[in-house]
């Protein structure tokens, strides 16, 4: 190959690279507007609690056939009311969650929220909440929840407090409620 030809081949290579670079510069996706809500996929305890994903410790309490997990509440001030949410899975025969008790509140009640159109209605649940055999119930922002009436002390984000759950067949089991920053 003489000098002229090698110069040409170098020039052509440079041109092809140049064309490639222009195409690459002109291409590419517009950058994301960065609306990542920061929901972390790390923990096992991630749940969509309406209002976005809430990350809990992923701990699970096993009581006979019942698996109770993702037990959480929001922060609150002494004298406020609060709510506790959780997931209860049942590997065995049907059971009923009849109530709960905690020293963190003057009273703990099982409530159901229903939407009638856009109106939120709240009801005290008297018969308890049935957990079907082999099924589960989720206490969340769309329906059932435990209402904590008259908090005896502030609930600080990052803190936790014990809650005793009462099941018709399963009896009592204590779980720790995680106080999660909204």
């Amino acid at each position: 190959m003489n000098l002229k030809q090698s110069a040409i081949s170098r020039m052509l290579t440079a041109l092809l690279l140049f064309a490639g670079v222009l195409a690459a510069c002109g291409g590419g996706e517009p950058t994301d507007s960065g609306m990542d809500m920061g929901s972390e996929d790390g923990g096992m305890g991630d749940m969509d609690m309406g209002g976005g994903d809430v990350e809990t410790s992923g701990e699970e309490v096993v009581h006979g056939d019942l698996h109770i997990s993702a037990v959480w509440s929001r922060p609150g001030f002494r004298g406020d009311n609060g709510a506790v949410y959780m997931m209860v899975m049942n590997d065995g025969d049907a059971d009923t969650l009849i109530g709960a008790h905690t020293d963190a509140a003057a009273a703990t009640e099982l409530h159901e929220m229903t939407m009638e159109g856009d109106v939120m209605k709240m009801q005290l649940v008297s018969g308890g909440l049935e957990i079907p055999a082999g099924g589960h119930v989720e206490l969340d922002s769309g329906g059932y929840h435990f209402m904590l009436v008259d908090l005896q002390d502030d609930l600080q984000p990052g803190g936790h407090f014990p809650l005793i759950l009462q099941f018709e067949n399963g009896g009592e089991v204590t779980v720790e409620v995680e106080v999660v920053e909204p």
Partner: protein, 210 residues
């Protein structure tokens, strides 16, 4: 040392240059078209036609009288709730908190306002304290029962006080929509309960830029 190129070789050079430029042009054009504003579809329920948001006069948590018209030039997110509410209200305020964070600097153009439907139990202090759980920029407003009821009625907000036998005393069944008022004071849409923060943020960003 490079020698001069022949005409053919120059043609090849120019040809490659043109091809490169064409590729760039085509790709950039496609990219530009995807950035050019698509007509925005609201996630919320639009008011059609939009209507002037009923003005109101209520007290904020420092005791100052506040009118809705004071917020002209800002987008107002309005919710009727109460602090003893264990569910719909904190859930909504949690979503508002996420929206506020996502908006970043745009949050300056939005006012998040909670009107208490329980002024008897929601003192100014309690209201302010409750909002600090979420964001201390959120505005809590309250007034006497008569004013509260007439404002609720103007916004078509259902409020029902019921003694359900709870140790909490009476509970309040109420409309859980978030109302959105634009910079000109028009009611433009309402977000149903639990509309996600990304959807709300996108709608607000659109309204801010109008």
């Amino acid at each position: 040392m490079l020698g001069p190129l022949s005409a053919g070789q120059w043609l090849l050079f120019v040809g490659a240059l043109i091809v490169g430029l064409l590729i760039m042009f085509v790709v950039m054009n496609n990219r530009t078209q995807s950035i050019v504003a698509q007509p925005h579809t609201f996630s919320g329920l639009p008011y059609d036609p939009v209507e002037p948001a009923p003005d109101f006069s209520l007290f904020d948590t420092s005791g100052q009288l506040v009118q809705l018209s004071d917020f002209r030039g800002k987008i107002v997110m309005l919710f009727f709730g109460y602090t003893n509410c264990p569910l719909a209200c904190p859930t909504t305020l949690s979503i508002w908190k996420q929206v506020h964070q996502s908006l970043g600097a745009d949050a300056n153009d939005v006012r998040f306002v909670l009107i208490s439907v329980d002024p008897e139990r929601d003192t100014a202090e309690k209201l302010e304290q409750h909002l600090t759980i979420f964001n201390s920029d959120f505005i809590g407003l309250r007034g006497d029962m008569i004013d509260t009821e007439s404002i609720a009625q103007a916004y078509n907000v259902y409020i029902e006080y019921e003694d359900v036998g709870s140790a909490a005393g009476y509970l309040i069944h109420h409309t859980a929509l978030t109302y959105v008022i634009d910079k000109e004071g028009q009611l433009v849409m309402a977000f149903p309960y639990e509309t996600g923060a990304p959807e709300i943020t996108a709608d607000l960003q659109y309204l801010i830029r109008q």
